[in-house]
Symmetry: C2
Subunit: 204 residues, 2 copies
């Protein structure tokens, strides 16, 4: 019996460390990630079909019309979105796909695809969140305060997620995430093939 | 933050090996199991409060009336049931409690306590189920056929379980179960304390 992959959407406060966790999951355990489509111009070194699928505005709007995107958003003058085809082909091949999507997009995905698991990564405390944002050293105090204010607003929506994972340390968080993702395979909805096999086996 | 334990109900076809899996989970990872109350007489070597809580018929019926049992059933002339008090005190102490309950009882538990996770253990095939029942060497061919017929009926109710775990080999199954039980701690319903802590932290 070949197993289909699962799709998990991963969100978290800015500074929760979700990018690092996702990278570790890819490197250590071979999880797949989606490749976004965008209308912004390629930067030096970016490769079509690897960094992004680069599209014209017209092409992107056609994808929207044809419902070919799992979700999309517009930032400044550019579209960014997650093409359905690529993700579903990975899943069919048995690959588990991680989608790193911010909260609003994540909730939209869940509405459209209730079978997708929503996972929220949070630092253990607000103090820790602030420390991590400061440690990056790339943002001004003002930007950091804005991010904290946004995180405070996002708090209320943690209840919409299926799982909440505390990132108190990278290694432990990665192991917890891996165990969680593997366990999601055992949920009834993802075990329909096994239930069918066993049921048919009894009928023979 | 002290973490509360979870309650997981474990069922499976007779011969699926769930007893062995549960014993391994207790020994290897320290999971707690419920101690049943019963009206049957203690057998030699059985210890009150360890093997069972031994009760008179009157005491047991009082427990039923006072809603002090998670579930109970009557076999031949004796009552068997799971006292609520003991399980909840384990959970309060942060212990995860496994309840090995047959299917009908399991579904009743879920109705009454929707927060409990139902896990169903199945062998990979009917052939394997038959081999395991034969290997025990304790049952006649007739009894084995009855068990298989019952398993076939139970198949339809696998859909009522939250998780389906295939027991293709003891060690792998125990590891999968342990990862699953730990992951259940990460589900939103079991992470309310963390969500509350983080939310309050932002308000300070």
């Amino acid at each position: 019996m070949s197993k289909k992959g699962i799709i998990a959407v991963i969100s978290g406060f800015s500074g929760a460390g979700k990018g690092t966790v996702v990278n570790e999951l890819i490197e250590k355990y071979g999880y797949a990630v989606s490749i976004s489509a965008t209308t912004r111009k390629p930067r030096e070194g970016e490769v079509e079909g690897k960094s992004y699928f680069f599209k014209t505005k017209e092409e992107f709007e056609e994808m929207i019309e044809k419902d070919e995107l799992i979700e999309y958003a517009q930032y400044v003058d550019n579209y960014y979105g997650t093409p359905k085809d690529y993700v579903l082909s990975q899943v069919e091949q048995g690959k588990d796909v991680l989608l790193e999507i911010e909260m609003q997009g994540a909730l939209k995905v869940k509405e459209k695809f209730p079978e997708v698991s929503l996972i929220f990564i949070t630092p253990p405390s607000v103090g820790e969140l602030r420390r991590r944002l400061q440690k990056r050293g790339t943002e001004t105090e003002e930007v950091i305060e804005k991010r904290i204010a946004r995180a405070k607003e996002e708090c209320a929506y943690m209840q919409e997620y299926d799982y909440i994972v505390e990132n108190a340390g990278l290694e432990e968080c990665v192991e917890q995430m891996h165990a969680l993702l593997q366990s999601i395979h055992l949920s009834k909805n993802n075990q329909q093939a096994l239930i069918k096999t066993i049921t048919e086996d009894f009928d023979q």
